[in-house]
Symmetry: C2
Subunit: 144 residues, 2 copies
DNA sequence: ATACAAATGAAACAATGTTGCAAATGTAGT
DNA sequence: ACTACATTTGCAACATTGTTTCATTTGTAT
């Protein structure tokens, strides 16, 4: 689905900044950082507008924000395809070697059995470790 | 176990700042923010020293850092009791009403089935919603 | 009591995010 | 296509959070 349609469905004004963010996220299957999104936007990038648009898109449920250890922040489209999903569905993997973030679509968010009185809204699962590429590099280095 | 013992076991120097942090965390069963830890330290509080000590204690596995949406940061003792545990064991609940963070010791971190090549180190589960106290307040307000 | 490495605290910096406000832009109605 | 109005933008200035450098102080083992 094209960026302008997504905005229309959510009744959010169609502006260049927002379209650029959605396009950048659609063109990648992995979550992107602010810098990565910025690099796709030729010159017409304003830090303040970016922050405001990310906030608008996030509260609308279009974009999901993934935060690792409060330094690394990545964005992804909420469930590419489905529109009105406001909820995170899968876990994310953070590589402590190369600092990349990978969607683990295989690992679904389970149903949590919350204690009496608690109401569920959303959840995040961050798994940390070494990603496939890096663990391969480490292993081969050992063999040298 | 007393603060100085914990530091000794981990072969970390016993300094007033570190002891103050551990004491503050031991006196509360819920995770504390920097401000909350600070308020327990009369005057002898230095921001830079705090950051450095939190980092030392975190990498030693004594303290665990819980980050919500990269604005709210809370600290807790890693599995009060067991010493050499470097890993998070239970999920945390973030209340979107009162912004409190609660340990959900009932909800253990499951075994994740990572894809081929990925190596596991640690993980965080953050569940967001409305806590017991706040959901009660909301419900009673509806009845008025 | 001494010696040495590690920790502290100050200043200065860096990165990240927010607010107020005038100008520009998007959208709905004609 | 034009107008009107609210929303969004972009700028300056600010606020918060975290880091680096370095001289001084402190903890610990001998």
């Amino acid at each position: 689905m094209i960026a302008s349609e997504i905005l229309k469905i959510h009744e959010i004004k169609k502006t260049p900044g927002r379209i650029a963010i959605i396009n950048a996220l659609q063109q990648n299957d992995q979550p992107l950082s602010e810098t990565e999104i910025k690099s796709g936007m030729n010159e017409m990038y304003d830090r303040i507008t970016f922050y405001r648009n990310i906030q608008t898109l996030t509260t609308a449920g279009i974009v999901h924000k993934i935060v690792i250890d409060n330094t690394i922040i990545k964005y992804e489209l909420s469930c590419s395809g489905k529109e009105h999903t406001h909820h995170n569905e899968h876990a994310h993997f953070y590589c402590e070697e190369c600092h990349s973030v990978t969607c683990l679509k295989q690992i679904k968010i389970p149903e949590f059995n919350l204690p009496e009185g608690f109401m569920y809204d959303d959840s995040d699962i961050i798994i940390k470790g070494t990603c496939k590429k890096c663990s391969h590099q480490i292993t081969t280095k050992d063999l040298e």
